[in-house]
């Protein structure tokens, strides 16, 4: 039986890619499939992400053993030696048991053999079928044979058989016979799979056909995704921000929130969680790009519940974007054809305003469920239902799922394949192979001159192959390598990406030249020849001077240090221990469980207690109570931490550290027993009835205002729970909740609906005007302004409940471990979106409340996710460094330490013993910032030696 793949990951969006990489980085082979013809999911359409309004997706790529994956922009495709990607595939059925699943896949033909396609475009030029390009939100057109993601690498065409007429024009036009339009959908069965991760994501709500939005009648009403395409330079208007109807520059946009979400009428009793931030980001980008400031976001609540969301919102506001609290009824047109919107403004007046463009913030499509095979043992969904998540949440959830898949892969002993190919370091022996690509290069380039010149100046041989991409061509190429005993190779071909993957297992050092880039319709043969010559020369320069380093390995301390025995710490420790990594937990108090006393949900309590139980009885886990980290040194894989425990000091050697010291309720004091916090009330409600008749709940107490200008994310949900519970106990209790924005993201929306259904009254207040509370003998009077009734109101209460938010632990770890923090004191991850639990210091990870406000299950998942990241280091006994890292030539190093300051990964350190600068091979990512600040080349980057680069510049200008 073939047991090639430990895991099948269905869905190649960012979640699927994360999960696949998690496994691949540990050496497991993964089969990644996607229903679509390309990988990347929705993010392939999005160029920009909150909070920096740029991308950074490539930061998802492996940092250890990174040479196994492609080193280029992840939005262009995912390549990793341990990941096999199959596009056009869907799971039909899953049978069998974990460790031996049999999966039948429905494979839709792509029509084009990717091995043969050279991306020459001739098929597209003859294809008679033109359809709307969904990639660009239907704002542009494409052929039936097309490139599914315009920026994909390699740029292989596929056929959209839904619109293809099978006329066969492309088949006869294709110069490499790559096209086959005869194939049908096939079923393929793959056995011996350990587990399945379902990361198929969700679909977007389609507003077309809804008479309120009129997308068909008003061209300038588009979805948020389409607007993202409009702003993208690879989009329908090549980055020119213009509107679809008449090409006018877009300056003023209306964003309509909750399109397809929070709507009982269409069965969407949920919040899609991401649309508010998405709209904010788009509004900010537009303001930035077009120097405009009159856009408006029409919303009910502006759900900026992620840690830095509140401040981000304020920054967007400063750019002049308006937030208008009015859900929109429908979009119409004004007399000049602009889309116009009626809304009710703050003082209850109706206004009608015209915009250049209306953007519909479409959420997830309603009524989606997972396929039935999710029930099969060994199938793990990334979320409970097909759901939308903020990227960082997706990443965390993915790793949560992949950790389960890893358990199975381990249990059933799947083969792991980790490699760091040792590049041949004999004296350079170069050869050049040029593909003439049929007649393309014969006609457009003077190959004879190239051969002669190279031989005359450099004394290097050139072989020309007719079609290197064909099977024959490939074997010819291989025989030339063997024959000539070559260890450095330059390949010039039309589309050399094919070779980069084929040659990647070889110890050959290869430079690849895209010959097609040098040919242009407007330039002569001479020009192209000259151009290619100089590029070859340039490559020669680099290859000759490339000095491969010996692959280095390091024994690691196979133990993890988990700081904090709260929920996230426990789940981290458990995950690590389950993977065979011994753990030391350092807990400040004398018990485990962290915020357990403040959790009121019975199921959550049970699961945490269960976790405590398991961790306590795990012989692989040492727990140090009443202790704290006092100092720390070392490199990833070999950290040495000093733990102080009741006046004694212990030294612990670990390969990795997980910071899970958590946080807790923000401090709040009120003597009055009729004043409670939401947290306290929730605990009280577990035991007894609340006898109050008039209850007022006040959200965002000292929260989302300076100095605590962040949303604590969990208070709204808890307050809603409390309200529902009180109403259950006493339906006649009058509950009024004062809120700024109900942060009922995802399915918490259902609680909000339920609370209203039960008669809880909600009153919104503005940041600047916190409702006034007057205490009196009978209780309280709360004075506020009612925005709906447009009048001052006074509400009497005999119980006042404040939602006071959460705050991170004060533990000084940011100093001890030299980590960065947010202004609010949360420990900052290195990339909010794509590496949410990495601190930026390799080997040290962060999870739970110490990083950001989170509920128990979110914290638990973060814990697992952090453990998962740590496993990359701790999974094996030795760590092998990737090539292309920096080295210090101590003999000429003047120790100015400029490199130490410059290193973005703190991979460089000055030894206390000998004052020399050392590089930690594992942390170093080979970016070369150190080398560029080193004046005398005492620092070198493998593969990017200065000499080679200087020679190649010289050659290029020859």
């Amino acid at each position: 039986m073939d047991r090639k793949f430990s895991t099948l990951v269905a869905g190649a969006g960012i979640s699927g890619v994360r999960a696949a990489l998690d496994l691949a980085e540990l050496g497991y082979r993964v089969l990644l499939i996607d229903k679509k013809a390309s990988a990347g999911g929705i993010l392939s359409q999005l160029d920009y992400q909150f909070p920096n309004d740029h991308c950074g997706m490539c930061r998802t790529l492996p940092m250890i053993d990174r040479n196994n994956g492609a080193q280029f922009c992840l939005r262009k495709g995912i390549f990793h030696k341990n990941i096999t990607f199959m596009p056009g595939c869907e799971i039909e059925t899953v049978k069998g048991t974990p460790g031996n699943l049999s999966i039948s896949l429905k494979r839709s033909p792509l029509g084009v053999d990717p091995e043969k396609c050279t991306g020459c475009l001739s098929c597209e030029s003859v294809c008679p079928v033109t359809v709307k390009e969904d990639f660009n939100g239907n704002l542009s057109q494409r052929k039936a044979i097309y490139l599914p993601v315009p920026h994909n690498i390699p740029n292989k065409r596929v056929i959209d058989f839904e619109s293809c007429t099978k006329c066969g024009e492309c088949v006869s036009e294709c110069p490499t016979n790559a096209i086959d339009i005869t194939k049908d959908v096939g079923i393929e069965t793959i056995d011996g799979i350990g587990s399945v991760i379902l990361a198929t994501g969700t679909e977007l709500y389609n507003p077309d056909g809804v008479d309120l939005y009129n997308t068909s009648k008003i061209k300038d009403v588009v979805t948020a995704t389409a607007f993202e395409r409009i702003m993208s330079s690879s989009g329908p208007y090549k980055g020119k921000i213009q509107r679809p109807s008449d090409g006018k520059e877009i300056k003023k946009v209306a964003f309509i929130q909750c399109v397809g979400s929070r709507n009982l009428m269409i069965g969407a009793d949920y919040c899609s969680s991401v649309c508010c931030m998405f709209a904010l980001k788009e509004a900010a980008l537009l303001a930035e790009k077009t120097k405009s400031s009159d856009s408006a976001i029409f919303c009910m609540d502006l759900r900026t519940f992620s840690r830095d969301g509140e401040r981000y919102k304020e920054r967007v506001k400063e750019k002049g974007v308006r937030f208008i609290r009015s859900r929109i009824h429908s979009v119409e047109k004004d007399d000049s054809g602009n889309p116009s919107i009626s809304y009710v403004d703050a003082d209850g007046k109706q206004k009608s305003e015209s915009f250049d463009l209306v953007v519909l913030s479409t959420g997830k499509s309603q009524n989606l469920t997972h396929p039935s095979f999710i029930e099969n043992e060994g199938v793990f969904g990334i979320s409970e239902t097909p759901d939308f998540k903020e990227i960082s949440d997706s990443m965390i959830n993915s790793s949560f799922a992949s950790s389960k898949a890893i358990q199975i892969a381990k249990e059933y002993d799947y083969e792991t394949k980790k490699s760091s190919t040792q590049i041949n370091d004999d004296d350079p022996k170069l050869h050049i192979i040029l593909c003439s690509c049929g007649n393309l290069f014969k006609e457009n380039v003077d190959l004879t001159k190239i051969t002669e010149d190279i031989s005359r100046i450099y004394g290097i041989g050139i072989t020309t192959i007719d079609q290197a991409c064909s099977l024959e061509g490939w074997s010819e190429l291989k025989s030339i390598i063997d024959e000539k005993g070559v260890n450095r190779l330059i390949i010039g071909a039309c589309n050399p990406q094919i070779f980069s993957t084929k040659l990647s297992d070889n110890s050959l050092l290869t430079e690849i030249i895209t010959l097609a880039e040098h040919i242009s319709d407007t330039e002569s043969v001479d020009e192209a020849t000259k151009s290619i010559l100089s590029e070859i020369a340039s490559s020669i320069g680099r290859l000759k001077k490339y000095t491969p380093q010996k692959v280095r390995s390091m024994n690691i301390s196979k133990r993890a240090l988990v700081l904090g025995g709260g929920i996230s710490g426990l789940s981290s420790a458990k995950t690590l221990s389950d993977s065979g990594v011994p753990v030391t937990i350092v807990e400040k108090s004398d018990k485990l469980g962290g915020n357990l006393p403040f959790i009121s949900d019975e199921t959550v309590i049970k699961s945490i207690k269960n976790l405590i139980e398991k961790v306590s009885s795990d012989s692989n886990i040492d727990i140090l109570f009443n202790s704290e980290l006092s100092s720390h040194k070392g490199v990833p894989g070999k950290f040495e931490s000093v733990i102080s425990k009741e006046n004694t000091e212990l030294i612990v050697q670990t390969g990795s550290i997980i910071v899970a010291t958590g946080g807790g309720k923000a401090s709040f004091d009120d003597e009055n027993e009729r004043v409670k916090t939401t947290f306290d009330l929730s605990i009280e409600l577990m035991e007894k009835k609340v006898d109050a008749k008039n209850i007022v709940m006040m959200q965002c107490k000292d929260s989302r205002v300076e100095p605590f200008n962040y949303c604590s994310r969990i208070c709204c949900g808890k307050a809603l729970d409390n309200a529902i519970k009180i109403k259950e106990q006493n339906p006649d209790a009058k509950i009024t909740m004062f809120y700024r924005d109900i942060m009922a993201y995802g399915d918490i929306e259902k609680k909000y609906t339920e609370a209203r259904r039960r008669g809880v009254i909600f009153k919104r207040f503005e940041k600047e005007k916190y409702p006034e509370v007057i205490s009196n003998d009978n209780g309280f009077t709360i004075k506020a302004f009612d925005f709906i009734l447009n009048e001052d109101i006074e509400i009497k209460a005999d119980l006042l409940v404040y939602s006071t938010g959460v705050a991170p632990q004060v533990d000084n770890l940011e100093k001890t471990l030299k980590l960065k923090t947010t202004v609010d004191g949360f420990i900052k991850e290195v990339d909010f979106k794509f590496r949410p639990v990495d601190t930026g210091k390799e080997g040290i990870f962060i999870c739970g409340l110490r990083r950001n406000p989170a509920n128990a299950s979110e914290a638990e998942k973060e814990g697992v996710s952090a453990a998962q990241r740590a496993l990359r280091l701790l999974n094996s006994e030795i760590l092998i460094s990737s090539g292309q890292v920096a080295h210090v030539r101590h003999s000429i190093c003047s120790r100015c330490n400029a490199c130490v300051t410059a290193c973005p990964y703190t991979a460089r350190f000055v030894s206390v013993e000998d004052r020399k600068v050392y590089v930690d091979d594992i942390s170093c990512q080979g970016c070369g910032t150190c080398a560029s600040v080193c004046p005398n080349n005492a620092t070198i980057i493998e593969g990017f030696e200065e000499k080679g680069i200087l020679d190649s510049i010289e050659a290029a200008l020859g």
């Binding site: 008479d211 309120l212 009129n214 009648k217 429908s330 119409e332 047109k333 007399d335």
Partner: protein, 166 residues
Amino acid sequence: MATRSGLERWFPEFFDKYNAYTVFDLMKSYIEDGRIKLDKEMFTQRIAYHDPCNYGRKSEEKFGYGYYEEPRWILDQFAPNWVDLFPSKANGYCCGGGGGTMLTPFKEVRSHYGKKKIEQIKRVEPELIVVPCHSCHGQIQSSLSEAEMDIPVKYLWEVVADALIV
């Protein structure tokens, strides 16, 4: 609307014994069955069709079916140049005379409503407005005169009757 909902509410057995038809059902079946023939030359002008709330949106909500396509189909049979107002059908604007407001003294609010309709009408520049509702007929006529616009308003059955070939 009132009759149908009243029957459904208080006399559900009515429907066991009898059938009930809307004006559209009848006209459509007469045309489809060839019981009436219509002159295709008579209404070649630009006609704007207005959806009454009761036959459309409210019927849809109340009875699960809105009469949007039938009147349009009927117009298609003999008036090639009819146009839709925008927005129309389920999201159309009320003429301003619904809900018995024609019978109340709040004329100002009613005429505010009417203005919205007139704006819509102006945008399509019709020569004739066709409605299938008595209230809408009256209200649109009065809004037009208030706006000093001289466009005739006719009932749908009126134009059908006028186009009859007998």
